[in-house]
Amino acid sequence: MKTESRLEKVLASGNLAVTSECGPPRGALPDKVREKAEMLRGYVDAINVTDNQTAMVRMSSFAACVIIKQMGLDPILQMVTRDRNRLAMQADILGAYAHGIDTMLCLSGDHPYFGDHPQAMNVHDIDSIQFVQMVHQMREEGKFMGGGDILNPPKMFIGAAANPFADPFELRVARLAKKAKAGTDFVQTQCIYNLDKFELWMKGVRDRGLHEKVHILAGITPMKTAGMARYMKNKVPGMDVPDEVVDRMAGVPKEKMAEEGIKICVESIQRLKEVKGVSGFHIMAIEWEQKVPEIVEKAGLYPRPENL
């Protein structure tokens, strides 16, 4: 084992891993964090805590991770290169590890343009691949990016994002290869609605043996309404929602839409379980965390492995 990460242990055991996420509140509301995380207890192996997602200010991922850790659960510290330079990032990684946080996700982050502070300067001192390299070097060599020695180096299990649906598609496998080369242990993918395209990407991944270097957790997001499906199709950059999915959501009465969304999501998991190289699922139920247990159970991913 490279780390103490529970997620690493689950993946190493050969079980399909399950992660989900909590968006921290837009206020100093620790109970809100606890409430969301509690819904996931026992149903997931680790909980991603987003870092100012969609470039909106929220409680810091680090602080929310500490709250979740204190509940005896396993948070995944998300961190974006948009808001911090290399000094601040490394400082927070030391701090997080000192609080027992041992798993993180390295991202570049949504552009401030999309958020509530479009006036903000985006930092991007380093990019997401250099970020992975940095955390990897901290763990493996016990050295800061600047070369200095770290006392008690943080041993982070290192995650990154992968979007098989963004363009240029032909570069997407190479991009994963680059993330693997940088030292990524696992990736969580963009929400998958176009399963055919995902499988095509996975074929490219397997052809290069990348699934043996990096654990791939397939991203799943249940749709609540046909409106949400249309929004994701048309408005969210890098999202691929086929017409069939939108039509299927729109084809049921309004009060049945949520149920249909869960059904689509469970069917997707069932199909993706059969895809060689998929090591687990990352279920992002945006402001709908209470549905995660139901999805996990219906998808046959419950109970979660114990005593690893």
């Binding site: 990019d127 997401s128 940095m134 963004a166 680059k178």
Partner: protein, 222 residues
């Protein structure tokens, strides 16, 4: 070149309002090429200001002059003969020109009439786009001659983010995804395998991160 755009007239009016005699100084270099602060724009702004103050029942004296290069002390000296008759200077040069005047004429207030934008190139008639951020350590040789520092919204050095869609950046369909451009170019050059070399974290010391920069050429410096 350095690109600029003229400030809104109201802002310029507010800055020169307290003064009677204005020396309006253009520049014959970059701002002329990007039609922001050359001889022609100096003339247009002078007229616009005269008209504006006339409607307010006020007259002001505007002396128009366009220097060969406003960021060069040698040419700025040409303003000497006019300075005594000016209460304030309004500069249509980039920020470098404005500062050169401020440095040379310490007692004279100087106001910018343009917003300096970026180092860029002309894409077509009337359109300029950013090309360089002056990082001080050019990496264009590695990226097919296309700069991800200046042209990626997230300054990514190792490939496109997850928001690249049909060749466009996630922030706007008007913005090209620079990594799509770089990838297409690497392919055209048969250099695709270059893509998987990890570009290490940038040393920003050669750029603005190292503080205000200066070039000293011992062979030329006096």
């Amino acid at each position: 070149m350095i690109t600029a755009e003229r400030k809104p007239l109201e802002e310029i009016v507010a800055s020169v309002k307290p003064f009677q005699r204005i020396l309006l100084v253009g520049c014959n270099e970059c701002v002329t090429v990007c039609a922001a602060g050359g001889r022609k724009e100096v003339g247009l702004l002078a007229s616009a200001l005269q008209m504006h103050f006339m409607t307010e029942g006020k007259t002001i004296d505007i002396k128009e002059i366009t220097l060969e290069r406003q960021c060069d002390p040698e040419y700025v000296e040409e303003l000497n003969v006019h300075m005594d008759q000016a209460d304030a200077v309004l500069s249509m040069a980039c920020g470098c020109g404005v500062q050169e005047i401020a440095r040379r004429y310490r007692e004279k207030p100087v106001f910018p009439a343009v917003n300096t934008k970026f180092m860029g190139a002309s894409e077509r008639q009337g359109v300029w786009a950013e090309r360089c951020q002056g990082c001080g350590d050019c990496l264009l040789g590695l990226t097919g001659g296309i700069c991800p520092i200046a042209r990626c919204s997230k300054r990514l050095l190792n490939g496109p983010c997850g928001g690249s869609t049909t060749g466009k950046c996630e922030i706007s369909p008007e913005v090209d995804c620079v990594w799509q451009l770089i990838w297409d170019r690497l392919k055209a050059l048969g250099m695709q395998d270059r893509y998987e070399d990890i570009m290490p974290a940038k040393n920003w010391q050669t750029g603005r991160g190292g503080g205000p920069r200066k070039i000293i050429r011992e062979d030329l410096a006096e």
